[in-house]
């Protein structure tokens, strides 16, 4: 399989001196679910936010290393971050529907990108809602405010909103942390379908979710990548003692 993202020696420090990532190197395969997991403060979210340069909004003190996506270093100052963010979509832990209708939530990014044709927008709405497994539930009330939906539905709307932009990579930061098991199951099932077309990086909210969803898994501890490998063997026979201790619940 092709490496979609190659992270080389990435280090990052926040302005308050907290070290968030230390010399992380990692290759992310195309059309697979790569899971980044570990205890809080490990640097997983920071890494995600590097991949679409959302960290630009925060004060980052020092960064070293490279992130190559399709062979181009996206940390380069010449990178078109707007185009990058359309290519690398993100779903957040708490669903945040924008204060507008379901339809407008889905077309928001496309309209910003300059798409005005109603037919194209309608097509994108239907396609992405179906991909996110929410079309059946909302197709007859697309003009209702998105906030009126349940938390689980909102999160799938947020996933659909990312899909509407036809990204290549989807980042998910604990997308099911606030959801009930049924909604969580729907999101996880959607991911299995989505990886056929997209490269997915997921920060799961539990080790169990990591084990359920991972094609590849990376274990982070205090800003360091401890172990990285194929999902199947990772959770049954980890190589590192610290990984095993975390997976089996000795700490965390």
């Amino acid at each position: 399989m092709v490496d979609k993202i190659v992270i080389e020696n990435l280090s990052l420090q926040y302005a308050d001196g907290v070290e968030s990532l230390r010399d992380v190197s990692l290759s992310v395969r195309q059309n697979a679910v790569t899971v980044l997991f570990g205890p809080a403060g490990g640097g997983k979210s920071t890494l995600l936010r590097c991949l679409n340069r959302l960290n630009d909004l925060t004060e980052v003190k020092a960064s070293a290393g490279r992130i190559m996506i399709d062979g181009k270093n996206i940390l380069d100052s010449k990178t078109d971050v707007i185009a990058l963010r359309r290519k690398v979509g993100m779903v957040f832990a708490r669903p945040v529907p924008l204060p507008m209708s379901i339809r407008e939530n889905l077309t928001y990014g496309l309209e910003l990108a300059g798409e005005k044709r109603r037919s194209k927008l309608d097509e994108a709405v239907e396609r992405s809602l179906k991909l996110a497994a929410i079309w059946e539930e909302v197709h007859n009330r697309l003009d209702d405010p998105a906030i009126a939906l349940s938390g689980g539905q909102q999160q799938r709307i947020c996933l659909a909103r990312v899909l509407a932009l036809q990204p290549e990579i989807i980042l998910l930061d604990e997308p099911t942390s606030g959801l009930d098991p049924i909604s969580t199951g729907k999101v996880e099932a959607a991911l299995v379908e989505l990886k056929k077309e997209y490269t997915i990086i997921l920060v799961p909210h539990s080790v169990q979710q990591a084990a359920r969803t991972a094609d590849y898994a990376a274990f982070f501890l205090q800003g360091e990548l401890i172990e990285y490998g194929e999902g199947k063997s990772f959770f049954t026979a980890p190589k590192e003692k610290r990984t095993e201790d975390y997976i089996t619940g000795r700490f965390g």
Binding site: G89, V96, P97, Y108, L112, R161, L165
Partner: protein, 287 residues
């Protein structure tokens, strides 16, 4: 022993609660008293002629149309200068400015601007707009002076409502490929607009009721016609009220109270509009 303490605590609580409730009620009394008193005294003076006619007999009779129109002009003039500037400053402070010496200075300046007595604004306006910039005693000079006075109110309320828009909306919008400005225009401003409008109206309402800042910069004692250009002086309700209450001997009381009632109605109407905007926005808000 234990029983006595509990009884005492309940008693103290009830007494304290009653006292606080009474004080809260007391704050309403002055405003209601003022409105009722002015209404009772001034209403007999209100007539079609009073609203739409010019004063005559040394302002002891006739109407107050030039003062009403003048206050309207001054309010609009103030809005033209202070609203765009105030909102732009608020957007800068809330969305772009980081904590630097420059932005700290701007904030301190705004806070101090709000504390300056209005008569000082009047003198400043006289010096800068009337004399130095040679606008003369005019609607233009008075509007500019009132604008400076109104700016802090508009800036601080607008900044407050911009800041109350959840940060997550900005992050999500940026993550969907929006620029900062697109995010502000399409999400943040839209959501903050009712709050901003409320602040604008409250600021303008203050400007409409002020006497001191227009005293030296644009207000006329008496004009036989309506102002024809922004460089003309104008009559205005608060100044007219001051004039007929202190400068004109043998002034019929009824006309004074009638003028006060019109000014009060003008200001309370603006207040009502602000309240309606706010409550309707709150009902519609999606966060």
């Amino acid at each position: 022993m234990k029983n006595i303490f509990t009884v005492n605590r309940h008693l103290t609580q009830r007494l304290g609660f009653t006292a606080i409730t009474l004080m809260a009620v007391a704050t309403v009394i002055p405003i209601i008293a003022v409105v009722i008193y002015i209404f009772a005294q001034g209403f007999p003076a209100i007539s079609v002629e009073f609203i739409s006619g010019f004063p005559h007999d040394g302002m002891r009779a006739g109407g107050i149309l030039p003062a009403i129109i003048g206050t309207l002009y001054l309010t609009i003039g103030t809005a033209i200068f202070s609203v765009p500037l105030g909102i732009a400053a608020a957007i800068y402070l809330s969305e772009y400015a980081s904590d630097t010496p420059l932005t700290r200075t701007i904030r301190i300046a705004i806070i101090n601007l709000a504390g300056i007595p209005s008569v000082v604004y009047g003198l400043f306006g006289l010096g800068l707009f009337v004399l130095f910039l040679k606008f003369g005693t005019s609607i233009l000079a008075a509007s500019l002076t009132l604008s400076i006075m109104t700016l802090p109110v508009i800036i601080s309320t607008a900044e407050e409502s911009l800041r109350s828009v959840p940060q997550a909306f900005r992050t999500v919008s940026i993550s969907l490929g929006a620029t900062r400005w697109q995010t502000i225009r399409r999400i943040v401003l839209k959501e903050a607009l009712p709050g901003i409008l409320t602040g604008v109206i409250l600021g303008l309402e203050r400007a409409a009721g002020e006497t001191a800042p227009i005293l030296f910069t644009g207000a006329a004692f008496f004009l036989p016609r309506l102002p024809g250009s922004p460089l003309d002086a104008t009559m205005a309700l608060p100044y007219h009220l001051f004039v007929i209450s202190t400068q004109v001997p043998e002034m019929p009381l009824q006309i004074q109270y009638g003028t006060a009632l019109v000014l009060l109605a003008f200001v309370l109407t603006m207040n009502l509009i602000a309240t309606v905007i706010r409550s309707r926005a709150r009902a519609k808000r999606q966060w």
